[in-house]
């Protein structure tokens, strides 16, 4: 019954990285982690559920912020050790910092002057952990 779950190459901690991509804009929003229960709940609920490694708990994305991710499509890669979710990002804010996406830091400069620069501003004041 759950062969599709066991087909995933879970790591030694029982986790797999999950990339969330905006289904409309194509932007890569977040990289989070899932355990078996998170993936099962994501599939059954149609909303992204991750495993928070810092809080060691299931994390229904949006539970504290309202910024749920409605799942349009779920994929795994050739080695089955990475998940890709195409999602609708509710409220247009995917990052717990209140930005549209988590990947707001871009490497700029050259040689010894390289640095990460935040290229996007906060849309909404942060609420909770996302």
């Amino acid at each position: 019954m759950s062969d599709w779950i066991e087909a995933v190459a879970w790591n030694a901690e029982g986790l797999v990285p999950a990339v969330a991509q905006d289904a409309t804009s194509g932007e890569v929003l977040t990289l989070a982690w899932m355990n078996r229960d998170a993936l099962r709940r994501t599939v059954e609920s149609g909303e992204a559920v991750y495993w928070s490694r810092s809080r060691k708990a299931l994390w229904h994305k949006g539970e504290s912020s309202g910024h749920f991710q409605k799942v349009v499509e779920i994929r795994i890669d050739c080695d089955a050790d990475a998940v890709l979710l195409r999602v609708e990002s509710v409220g247009g804010v995917a990052c717990h910092t209140g930005r549209r996406r988590c990947f707001f830091n871009k490497l700029e400069g050259a040689g010894g002057e390289r640095r990460w620069v935040a290229t996007e501003s906060v849309i909404e004041e942060p609420r909770g952990h996302g």
Copy 2:
């Protein structure tokens, strides 16, 4: 000089997951891993260099297949524990199976009938490890 490298939240094995996204189509192509040396070489060469966890060696993507990834942009996320590369995928084949992208398996079906289905065909016969 290398503060931008140490700003990355390397995991206990000294690695970080790196997502490669096609800069033109927006497709998520691969999820691979980098160590400090791989990230440094990626930045200096302008082509994606990963760390192969299976071969325990640096892996200049395309070295055996010709399918290099030319780097357009490098980002890290809010927690600095994930990298995003926007790339030009040389030859239009990013997967070692000869497909356009690694995420060719889609979850289909419902209830007890769910399964991963390959939704894309092989464009080119595989050569080497990618």
